[in-house]
Subunit: 136 residues, 2 copies
DNA sequence: GACAACTGTTACCTAAGGTAACTATAAGTT
DNA sequence: AACTTATAGTTACCTTAGGTAACAGTTGTC
């Protein structure tokens, strides 16, 4: 499938720009959103959990979490293991999650305008398969 | 299509990392490849042509072109309009284009392993439609 | 000829992430 | 118990990639 990477990558910048604009209301970016999303959907987590999920190094997540603490969106509580810090959403974090979730879902809906439901589903399912092929 | 952005974006880092590794042999990255690809496929071009194509600002392309000049992959010739500089591939640039093209095409083939031809095509065609929806 | 528009550059800034080295704690080994 | 290895998180420093504003030089228009 020659040209596939071009097709894939030319969407990236417009999309990430749009998402970052969308979340700038809350001083968030998509990279910060990933952390919020993770602890909302997988429960309070450690920094290592999160860095494994997104294939990024620990210092990257340390930084993201610190920014989210400054914004009072997450807080850290000690785990049983005294090395660990469990990261969880604050009440404000929960609120912001809901608001961003709505905005993102709305955009997810809008960008699919005029595209066959079947094609949407296939694209949605095919991308993770490609990811698996790259990572293995 | 809730969750689509997650599906899309989680492929990005593995892919771009792989591509950059692939091209590191020639001290290239995907962002530099985009310039090479453009002038190979659209002919010798100005900086403005290229920046329009990829939705990035002019200084970004100035930088990319300067790096490519250092690598002796492109050269600039004056256009009729004395403001313009026409950027074109050198002989070395042509060679490197061919080699990278082969490597990229091979990877494009490999990442599709086990994925239905029909699904590949639909994904390939759907992504640009989404891009159009975002940009309009 | 004056003013606007366009091409490309420079200087400065931000976002995002990586690597290496480190501290503190926990787990495994002898 | 003592020693060694592994793990969680942090810090300092570096790289990549891109944006904005301001500018010089050139061209087009009124």
């Amino acid at each position: 499938m020659e040209g596939f990477f071009r097709s894939y990558l030319s969407l990236y910048r417009p999309l990430i720009t749009k998402l970052n604009e969308l979340m700038s209301t809350y001083q968030l970016s998509y990279s910060l959103w990933q952390v919020i999303f993770y602890i909302k959907n997988y429960g309070p987590s450690t920094l290592v959990d999160i860095s494994n999920q997104y294939n990024v190094e620990k210092p990257t997540i340390t930084r993201r979490v610190h920014r989210l603490e400054d914004l009072q969106i997450v807080k850290q509580i000690p785990g049983k293991d005294r090395r660990e810090k469990i990261i969880q959403l604050t009440d404000l974090g929960e609120e912001i999650y809901q608001k961003c979730r709505e905005k993102i879902t709305e955009l997810e809906h809008n960008v699919m305008e005029g595209i066959d439901k079947e094609e949407q589903t296939i694209t949605f399912q095919t991308l993770p398969k490609i990811k698996e092929n790259i990572l293995k």
